[in-house]
């Protein structure tokens, strides 16, 4: 599913964010990426949706090598990968429905199918009744649910989440995790960078710890392993 081999990333300013990363992630896995700030977690995540191009090595997702992928093909890759961020990245001028539908309009789906699919997805994240609301009228947890709905509306095989609970209170964080669990149960691979010790230690999944751009730990049903 996802295969990283000897991946290196050095930024133009000389910072080494990845230094010989080797990871294999199977389809349907749920993976936490943990580590101290500045250890290279974000780069690891960003390389997966080709926001950052590796300096060396190969990253193969669904049979496509991201290191060799032409810039013009990046949009096609992203249609098969859902991405969720700490700051939600919603368009505040669009309604909840429009924010989610947007990801489908991009791939030119038919309006009828968009409507059906968006409503289904909003139901899955429990926001069907707020379809017409603007993001600014929602709580943080609700906004993150909209972002999750947008990331899965095109039924991607992989969802990548960068600190999805970073801005949320503990109760809401659990709600969000339940949604990710649900998505994972349906067969979607989830890669989640997180600082939330409690979540990692409670909902047990594979844990990869990144330190100084290297994989320091890779454990099935692992622990967070740092003081939060």
């Amino acid at each position: 599913m996802i295969d990283m081999q000897d991946v290196y990333k050095t930024y133009p300013n000389g910072i080494v964010a990845a230094s010989g990363i080797n990871v294999h992630i199977d389809a349907g896995e749920f993976l936490y990426v943990v580590g101290p700030s500045g250890a290279g977690k974000s780069t690891f995540i960003k390389m997966m949706y080709r926001e950052v191009k590796p300096s060396k090595g190969s990253i193969i997702i669904n049979g496509v090598d991201l290191a060799k992928l032409k810039n013009s093909k990046v949009p096609l890759l992203r249609r098969n990968i859902g991405v969720v961020f700490q700051d939600f990245k919603l368009l505040n001028t669009l309604s909840v429905y429009e924010n989610v539908a947007f990801a489908m309009e991009v791939i030119e789906e038919s309006p009828q199918y968009i409507k059906k699919r968006v409503m289904e997805t909003l139901e899955l994240v429990g926001l069907k009744h707020k379809a017409r609301a603007l993001p600014t009228e929602l709580s943080g947890g609700e906004q993150q649910r909209v972002a999750i709905a947008r990331s899965i509306v095109n039924a991607p095989k992989v969802v990548i989440a960068d600190e999805p609970t970073g801005n949320l209170d503990p109760d809401t964080s659990w709600e969000i995790m339940n949604i990710f669990e649900e998505i994972n149960m349906r067969g979607t691979t989830i890669v989640m960078a997180t600082h939330n010790k409690e979540i990692v230690n409670t909902i047990k999944h594979r844990v990869i710890a990144i330190e100084n751009g290297r994989i320091a730990r890779d454990e099935m049903k692992g622990e967070y392993g740092y003081e939060s």
Binding site: Y49, R50, N71, S72, V74, P75, L76, L77, R78, R79, V83, K89, L90, L91, T93, F102, A103, E105, V106, I107, E108, S110, P111, R150, N154
Partner: protein
Amino acid sequence: MKARTFRRHVRESFKSLGRNGWMTFASVSAVTVTLLLVGVFFVIMMNLNKVATTIEEDVEIRVHVDVAANDKDKEVLQQQINRVSGIKSVTYSPKEKELENLIESLGEEGEAFQLFEQDNPLNDVYVVKTKNPTDTMKVAQQIEKLNYVATVKYGQGKVEQLFNFIKISRNVGLVLIIGLLFTAMFLISNTIKITIMARKREIEIMRLVGATNGFIRWPFFLEGLWLGILGAVVPIAVVSAAYFYAYDFLNAKLKDHFIKLLEFNPFVYQLSAILIIMGAAIGIWGSLMSVRKFLKV
């Protein structure tokens, strides 16, 4: 691209104008102000050009034929004049006609000259017009060298000054219009750039969900087009209305000088088309230039 996607882009571009209300207002205002300046300047320049052309076309060379020339000599002279390059027309005006014109032009005082009808001291004249008025001096010099030419008159000295003045005015006008256009483009593209900077996030999200650069560009392209066209509306209305009144007013004043302004129709329609095209081009250019920055993967 599917037709419904295009419809989506059109719909989105209009919605976006509304959503970004103040930014739209700022961009449209920038286009309006600059096109208004361009429009006013254009009207002035085109009319000055028309006046200059009218004056230029009035310039003629009067070739006075030597009294010693007989009919055959005159015929040969006319043929020789015709052969000079750059000649548009040669009209023969016998001395009787010249005297008649003189008497007529002097009005009552001219009556005194009627005495000369028996013994006309004037010369026969060839009135020569050049294809290009600025060639007048050159052509006159060549004609001067021909046999049986007594004198050549074309308003020596004054014509050179006039042509020089017209040439300088045209060049200055051209430079000013080009300068104004560059200022307009700079001003408008900067305004649009600011509006798009504010929408960096929108573009970032579009890219994140897998929109191709083309898909992202389209609504911005259309938005630039609408901004440009909207910005052209007020200048067209103002310049047309002003020209409508100025045309009547100035034409009445200039009637005695044989100078006419450009006809309201079709000039104003041509000007409107130019302003719309300019607005649209600047709007599209500004928005595409600004969006380009954010599309680098």
